[in-house]
């Protein structure tokens, strides 16, 4: 398609862009379409039915928002596809959704990110003609007959070790210039960098709005010019906790304002419940119940939340709770389910042991000390390592890789498992001697 000649199918009666004094544009990135949610909460069938293919639902919400807001364009700043998900049905779904925008005369601007580049579907999908895909050489497109120009550079491969900024042309003078870039910016230590550049570099180029992608956590780096990472529209695991959104730009008289529009179907949330001073199981149960009900009441209407709960604080029931961890986990799941909107994927116990008492001279305490000592001994370490290796060999490679990204992870995992297993056993033994 020729640059600057984007074909738009306008809705009947839609005002001409040029005559509009107020133009809206929706900016998103990192959709990772059809990437599955990773949560044990999905064992629950009700929840599964409710939020299945959440990344699709989130994308559909973005489309809904675009239609409802009457935006002029949707910007997708990379990673529309997920590297691992290569089903053609994903493409079919995508086409269907973009077709809705096309029918409404809304343009789509899309740059490929690292995940798009590795996904073979990306090349095969015949996107409707309202989509402009920037290539690796970069370019600029005028949005209809407005005074708005969209600039963008796509990834051409899975990696982009060098900055892509040199590929951007100069902004169009006197117009609103929006630049799309998929980049890890300065990056983080220990992670690959993608199209590295600094926020200052971006600010120096003279664009009015940098529509970024790649980092899954939303951040507005600067507001003059705007440098915005919209974040992933749907968190996929507890590592991507919090409500997710797309970013809506409103351009009026050459001035840009920015707001968040919610997109996530389900929110991952870390939540601590303090049980300090609780003297009985009933009291703890009551705390959990009231905490969850309060949380449920504070949610936006229709919001669904997957929780990773942590019980913290100092309670007299410390050992009993540790001992009955499985029962407590089930209890938390049940109580959450009562709300109809909260789902617990895991219950973590970060309880502090009650202050040492005379009873600490009991046999179990000495055994606990012995266990701690044995766990540091080389003989045990070797035996434990062998056992962990054997059992982990049973897991699918992807899980194994996620668990053990490097050599150090293995010994750390062995240590952690031994420590938590030891704590659990001590709790059980203390329970038995009650």
């Amino acid at each position: 398609m020729r640059p600057g000649a984007l074909k738009l199918h306008r809705r009947e009666g839609a005002p001409e862009f040029g005559r509009r004094s107020l133009i809206k544009i929706l900016h998103t990135a990192d959709i990772h379409l059809d990437s599955p949610l990773k949560s044990l909460a999905l064992r629950n069938e009700t929840l599964r039915d409710h939020i299945q293919s959440a990344t699709r639902q989130a994308f559909a919400r973005i489309i809904d928002t675009a239609l409802a807001e009457g935006v002029a364009a949707l910007l997708i700043a990379g990673d529309l596809f997920d590297g691992a998900q290569r089903c053609a049905k994903t493409a079919a779904f995508l086409s269907g959704q973009i077709e809705r925008l096309r029918a409404a005369g809304i343009a789509v601007f899309y740059i490929k990110g690292n995940h798009d580049a590795e996904n073979p579907i990306t090349g095969e999908v015949a996107l409707p003609d309202n989509v402009h895909v920037f290539d690796g050489r970069g370019g600029k497109v005028r949005l209809g007959d407005t005074d708005i120009w969209i600039h963008g550079v796509s990834f051409t491969g899975r990696h982009a070790p060098d900055s892509l900024l040199p590929k951007f042309g100069a902004p169009v003078p006197g117009a609103v210039n929006i630049a799309m870039l998929h980049s890890s910016l300065a990056g983080a230590v220990g992670h690959d960098t993608y199209a590295p550049c600094s926020v200052d570099d971006l600010a120096a180029l003279g664009f009015d709005y940098w529509a970024l992608g790649h980092i899954h956590k939303r951040q507005v780096y600067r507001d003059a010019p705007w440098i915005v990472m919209p974040g992933i529209p749907q968190g996929r695991d507890i590592g991507e906790a919090g409500a997710k959104s797309a970013t809506l730009l409103t351009i009026e008289a050459g001035q840009i304002t920015v707001e968040e529009v919610p997109t996530s179907v389900v929110t991952f949330l870390l939540h601590d419940i303090d049980v300090t001073g609780a003297e009985s199981d009933d009291e703890i149960r009551q705390r959990v119940r009231s905490a969850l009900h309060a949380l449920s009441a504070s949610l936006a209407p229709g919001e669904t939340v997957i929780l990773r709960l942590t019980l913290a604080g100092r309670t007299a029931r410390h050992w009993q709770v540790l001992r009955d961890a499985a029962i407590w986990a089930e209890t938390a799941v049940q109580i959450a389910e009562e709300t109809g909107r909260l789902w617990v994927e895991k219950l973590c116990l970060a309880l502090e042991a009650p202050r040492a008492t005379a009873a600490d001279t009991a046999a179990t305490d000495e055994i606990a000390r012995l266990m701690a000592q044995i766990s540091t001994e080389a003989g045990f370490a070797a035996q434990a390592l062998a056992e962990v290796e054997e059992v982990l060999a049973q897991l699918p490679p992807a899980r194994r890789a996620a668990l053990l990204p490097d050599e150090a992870a293995m010994s750390a995992l062995v240590r952690d498992l031994a420590a938590s297993g030891g704590t659990h056993l001590v709790a059980l033994m203390k329970g038995a001697s009650e």
């Binding site: 990773k38 699709r56 579907i121 046999a363 012995l370 044995i374 056992e387 049973q394 056993l425």
Partner: protein
């Protein structure tokens, strides 16, 4: 630390006042080890049990109450608790059963606090060992029961439960994952995972497949479009031909219509007249005209009717008042019916009132009393009522009080009589009470009983022991004295026996000597007799004879001497030769002779010895015999019997001494009792009274006296009480009588004030009912009078009103008001009817007038409308009437319709041919015929059929391709499966990690528990092992535990390394193991700061001597940590203890 300083079994089991003194605590490091020796039945077990009673109290079922009743049992002791000596006494009471030295109650905890938490059962099983408890407790310990058992195996409670925890964890871990197992959670998740992956593979569509399908769909779409284009062209051609065919007839029609419209060119192009409106106007006009006529006629008729009505306004005027009078009329009617009856009732009531006055109030017939005067107001009546009640109540109360006073007087007389009688009965007070008080008879009698119960058994024992001394018909009244002590007698007897033995042996020996002497002498005789042997003496004498002869010869040197000498020489030589030939016999003989001499010498010595021994024995026997005599025994006695008797004598002496001591102890009590008897006997007139009887009688008399005194005092106080009561009552009575009199005066005044004298006041005092009746009748009378008056007034009013109305209406009235009233009503009704009818007629006439004028206005309107429409048509068209107008409108409508049709036909033609103007149409249709057009049409239709088929095929192809592409669809099935797969993977990860957590935790706990056991077995086990090795003198050197399912058992290893459990050992060894366990437990507890007295009751019985020695050493060692007390009836154990411990053990005797 608790130590038993002294144990007093005052009344317990077979003991009365048995006491054990374990002495002051030993110095540091010195063992506190005691052996109590006593014969069987002496009460060793009782001693141990008594100690337990002191600590824990008496059980509900007490087996040791066979001598003393349970309620009398009593055990005391002095305990050294942490260095402080405290005396405790245990009574068989309910709690608290513990007393201190002064007899004050102590809480149970006073002792329990120092028992290291041991229950009585624990104490018995651990530290009060006899045959039963050592075994029972030992088994429990080796089975890890009880605290000590757990201590042995685990050093702390709860460890044994942990193996169950571990088993559960192992089971849970195995449920999650087990090598090569297919039923674990992980395995089942793996299966599910594989299944989901398979489904994904089945459903998934790759990018390449997708691209191919998409291309195919695009191509099919393009082909379909091309076919559609071709088909569309053919359709256009066909339509063109068909249009021209349709256009030809249209053109012909247009031309014809144009010609027909020429004459009407001046007629209006539009006409806004609806022919229907004209028809409606025509109808309206005819209707209005006929209505106009009918209305005129009706109005005339109505006017005539109105004129004929007659009216009476004067009757009309009274109709309102007549209605008002209706209520009065009905009251008139009621009065007519009721009035007479009411009058009769009134006179009846007046009669009743007079009767009440005469009959009930006693007004005499000659004085006419007006009943009205006697009717009182209700206030006056109730005052009178109250006054009467008060008066009557006061009089009644006064009467009651009077009878009470009289009754009281009678009771006082009776009480005084009773008092006099009691005083008379009072016996002269004796000094019995004084004596009893002086002697404190209660305390004395208790002491006397205690003294008697202590002395009497002692006396019986002493007498018994004395009786036992009886021998050979001789009995003793007092304990005889014997110069010899038992030990001396035993020593004497011993020496007699020993001397006798030696004497007898010597006698036997000398007998043998003598036999040998005889034998030797016989042998010598025989040798000498048989061989003619020259004996040494003979040879010697021969030689001496020879030598003598030689000497003689030498001196004389003559032949005689020589011959004699020679003869002697020959005799000597012959003898020598003979002796030489019998040298052997001679040697034997010499030997015999030597032996004989030796034997004879020894026999002499022995005879001396025998004599000495006999003398010695005799001396000893004499000593004993003299002792027997001195002891006062007449009959001769064997020494052994004497020693036995002496033993009894010792017992008797001891019993006597005990009796004396007790008598001395209680002398004061007995003396006081004696003195008391002396003083009381004359008082009670008894001879030779027994103390108990006299005390009982004295007490009974005293009790009787006290009771009598108490009765007398009660009688006196009763008389006083009654007199006081009477005084009070009399005063009260006077008061009441005064009040009653005053009230009666008030009453009389009131009656006099209210009623004339004719009324009998006494009747009123009986009842006020006549007054109430009178008042009720009066009320009724007043009501009736009021009713009669009202009715008469109503009648008068009604008559007057009727007369007045009659006058006003001009109607003549009679004297019967009701008939007059009815006539007036009829007149008024007639007048009202006439009035209503004329008003109705007037209204109808006005309405018809109105309708008539409206009808005339409608007719005018129609006329004006017709004129207006006629002006629309050209000159010359007939429009004068509605009918003509209607005709013109119809014609105009026809013309306008034709004009529209022409325009329509022209438009249709242009549309059919798709041309802009009529000229072009005429031109296009010029020279065209229908036949020509049809021929061309058929040609096109044939082409079209082919194109249609092709198009359909293309649609199908495109639809199929599209369908195929569409079937991929955007559905989320694969996504869902991928999600499911991801979840399954997370679940697998969770299961694996959970398994690892559990498994690693299990390994850690397992190893830790093993280490814990290793470190903790030592303390208690080590101590047991050491003690057991010591007790078995090293035969068993090692103890180990063996885990056996959830429990552990104890194994002992002998020196050969053979393992044995307790039940496989001999009884002795088993007891040693059990004792070792107790020793270890004792040390363990001592280590924890609890050390308690440790009792053993003859548990060494089955031990051999060496092991008994070791056991004594163990006891001594325990004594160093606390206090060890061993009870036995074996003298040898005492000996061994002495041998092993020297003076570090204290020996106590029991039952001596």
């Amino acid at each position: 630390m608790m130590r038993l300083r002294q144990l007093d079994l005052e009344l317990f089991g077979g003991f009365s006042g048995q006491s054990f003194d374990f002495g002051a605590p030993r110095g540091d490091g010195e063992p506190d080890f005691h052996v109590i020796i006593g014969r069987n039945e002496a009460g060793k077990t009782t001693t141990m049990e008594g100690f337990l009673r002191l600590l824990y109290g008496f059980p509900h079922r007490e087996p040791y109450d066979f001598l003393h009743q349970r309620k009398n049992l009593r055990v005391s002791g002095v305990l050294d608790i942490d260095g402080t000596e405290m005396a405790f006494t245990r009574l068989p009471n309910r709690e608290p059963s513990l007393r201190d030295a002064r007899g004050a109650e102590l809480p149970t905890s006073a002792l329990q606090a120092h028992l290291g938490g041991l229950s009585e059962e624990d104490y018995r099983n651990l530290f009060c060992l006899d045959d039963a408890t050592i075994e029972r407790g030992g088994e429990e310990i080796t089975r890890a029961k009880g605290d000590i058992g757990r201590l042995l195996f685990s050093a702390a409670a709860g460890i044994s439960d942990l193996s169950e925890v571990l088993d559960r964890v192992r089971a849970e871990a195995d449920g999650l994952y087990r090598k090569r197992a297919s039923t674990t959670r992980l395995a089942s998740l793996k299966k599910d995972h594989a299944e989901v992956e398979r489904q994904i593979r089945e459903l998934d569509i790759s990018a390449a497949q997708y691209r191919k399908l998409k291309q195919a769909a695009d191509e099919a779409d393009a082909e379909e479009k091309r076919a559609l284009e071709h088909r569309r062209g053919l359709f256009a051609a066909k339509a063109q031909l068909e249009a021209r065919g349709k256009a030809l007839p249209l053109l012909g029609e247009i031309d014809a219509l144009g010609a027909r419209l020429v004459p009407f060119a001046a007629w209006p192009a539009r006409l806004d007249i609806d022919p229907e409106t004209l028809v409606r106007m025509l109808t309206d006009q005819a209707t209005a005209q006929s209505r106009e006529h009918a209305l005129g006629a009706e109005i005339d008729t109505l006017r005539a009717e109105l004129a004929g009505i007659e009216q009476h306004p004067e009757h009309l005027a009274i109709s309102g008042e007549i209605e008002e009078l209706d209520a009065l009329r009905s009251r008139y009617m009621t009065a007519d019916l009721d009035l007479d009856r009411r009058r009769r009732a009134l006179s009846g009531i007046l009669q009743d009132m007079r009767q009440v006055v005469a009959r009930d109030l006693g007004a005499s017939g000659d004085v006419d009393v007006d009943p009205d005067r006697l009717v009182l107001s209700s206030a006056a009546l109730s005052d009178l009522d109250a006054l009467r009640d008060a008066m009557r109540d006061a009089e009644r109360l006064a009467e009651t009080e009077r009878s009470e006073v009289a009754d009281l007087a009678a009771r006082i007389v009776a009480a005084e009589e009773a008092q006099r009688k009691l005083a008379g009965e009072m016996s002269a007070g004796s000094d019995l009470e004084e004596v009893c008080a002086r002697f404190d008879i209660d305390a004395l009698s208790q002491r006397f009983i205690a003294a008697t119960s202590a002395v009497e058994p002692a006396r019986a024992r002493a007498q018994g022991a004395l009786d036992a001394l009886s021998i050979k018909g001789q009995s003793f009244d007092a304990v005889p004295t014997c110069p010899l002590t038992l030990e001396e007698a035993e020593a004497l007897l011993d020496s007699v026996q020993k001397v006798t033995l030696r004497h007898d042996a010597a006698l036997r020996e000398i007998g043998e000597h003598r036999a040998e002497l005889a034998e030797r002498a016989a042998r010598i005789g025989r040798i000498k007799a048989t061989s003619g042997l020259i004996e040494d003496a003979q040879a010697q004498s021969l030689r001496a004879g020879r030598d003598d002869l030689w000497a003689e010869h030498r001196a004389q040197l003559n032949a005689a001497t020589a011959a004699e000498f020679e003869e002697a020489m020959v005799r000597v030589d012959t003898a020598m030769d003979l002796r030489l030939s019998h040298a052997a016999d001679l040697g034997t003989l010499r030997q015999h002779e030597q032996d004989l001499a030796a034997l004879e010498a020894r026999a002499g010595l022995m005879d001396q010895q025998i004599a000495a021994l006999a003398a010695e024995r005799q001396t000893a026997l004499d000593g004993l015999t003299s002792a027997v005599r001195q002891a006062g025994i007449g009959a001769p006695m064997m020494p052994e019997a004497f020693v036995a008797w002496l033993r009894k004598l010792g017992t008797a002496a001891q019993a006597a001494a005990e009796l004396r001591r007790l008598q001395e102890d209680h002398r004061e009590t007995f003396a006081r009792a004696e003195r008391l008897i002396e003083r009381l006997a004359p008082l009670l007139r008894r001879e030779e009274p027994r103390f108990e009887d006299i005390v009982a009688e004295a007490k009974a008399i005293l009790t009787g006296q006290r009771a009598h005194k108490e009765k007398l005092r009660a009688a006196r106080s009763r008389v006083e009480d009654l007199a006081g009561e009477r005084e009070k009552r009399v005063a009260k009575l006077a008061d009441m009588e005064r009040k009653a009199a005053s009230l009666r005066r008030d009453w009389a005044e009131k009656i006099a004030q209210l009623f004339p004298e004719a009324v009998n006041a006494s009747l009123l005092e009986a009842s006020l009912k006549p007054l109430h009746d009178l008042r009720a009748l009066d009320t009724e009378r007043i009501a009736l009078e009021r009713q009669v008056l009202g009715m008469e007034a109503d009648q008068a009013q009604f008559s007057a009103r009727v007369r007045d109305l009659g006058a006003r209406a001009g109607v003549e009235v009679s004297e019967a008001p009701r008939a007059d009233y009815d006539a007036l009503v009829a007149k008024a009704d007639e007048a009202v009817a006439a009035e209503e009818k004329s008003r109705d007629l007037e209204e109808r006439i006005a309405a018809q007038d109105q309708a008539l004028s409206e009808t005339r206005r409608t007719l005018d309107d129609i006329r004006l409308a017709v004129e207006k429409m006629a002006r629309l048509f050209p000159e010359g068209v007939e429009t004068g009437s509605l009918e003509a107008l209607r005709q013109a409108v119809s014609t105009a409508a026809q013309v306008i319709g034709d004009r529209g049709r022409l325009a329509q036909l022209e438009r249709d033609l242009l549309a059919t041919l798709a041309l802009a103007d009529l000229d072009a149409a005429r031109q296009s249709l010029a020279e065209t015929s229908q036949a020509d057009l049809r021929a061309r049409l058929e040609e096109v239709e044939a082409d079209l059929e082919t194109a249609e088929a092709l198009y359909k095929a293309k649609i199908e192809a495109r639809a199929a391709a599209e369908q195929e592409l569409l079937s991929i669809g955007g559905d989320a099935e694969v996504v869902r499966l991928v999600e499911r797969k991801t979840t399954l993977e997370l679940e697998m990860q969770e299961a694996a990690l959970r398994h690892l957590e559990l498994s690693l935790g299990y390994h850690l706990a397992d190893a830790a528990i093993r280490r814990y056991r290793d470190t903790h077995r030592s303390a208690m086990m080590q101590a047991t092992e050491t003690a057991f090795a010591e007790l078995t003198n090293g035969a068993y050197s090692q103890l180990r535990t063996q885990i056996d399912g959830a429990s552990e058992t104890l194994l002992a290893f002998d020196s050969k390394g053979m393992a044995r459990q307790a039940q496989d050992m001999s009884k002795g060894t088993r007891f040693q193991l059990y004792l070792a366990l107790r020793a270890a437990a004792y040390e363990q507890l001592a280590h924890q700061g609890t050390s308690l007295p440790f009792f053993c009751d003859d548990i060494f019985e089955t031990f051999d001597e060496d092991r008994t020695r070791s056991a004594c050493r163990v006891m001594e060692r325990l004594g160093r940590r606390g206090q060890a007390i061993y009870l036995t009836h074996h003298r040898h154990v005492v000996d061994i203890a002495r041998e092993v411990c020297a003076d570090r053990v204290q020996i106590h005797q029991i039952g001596v």
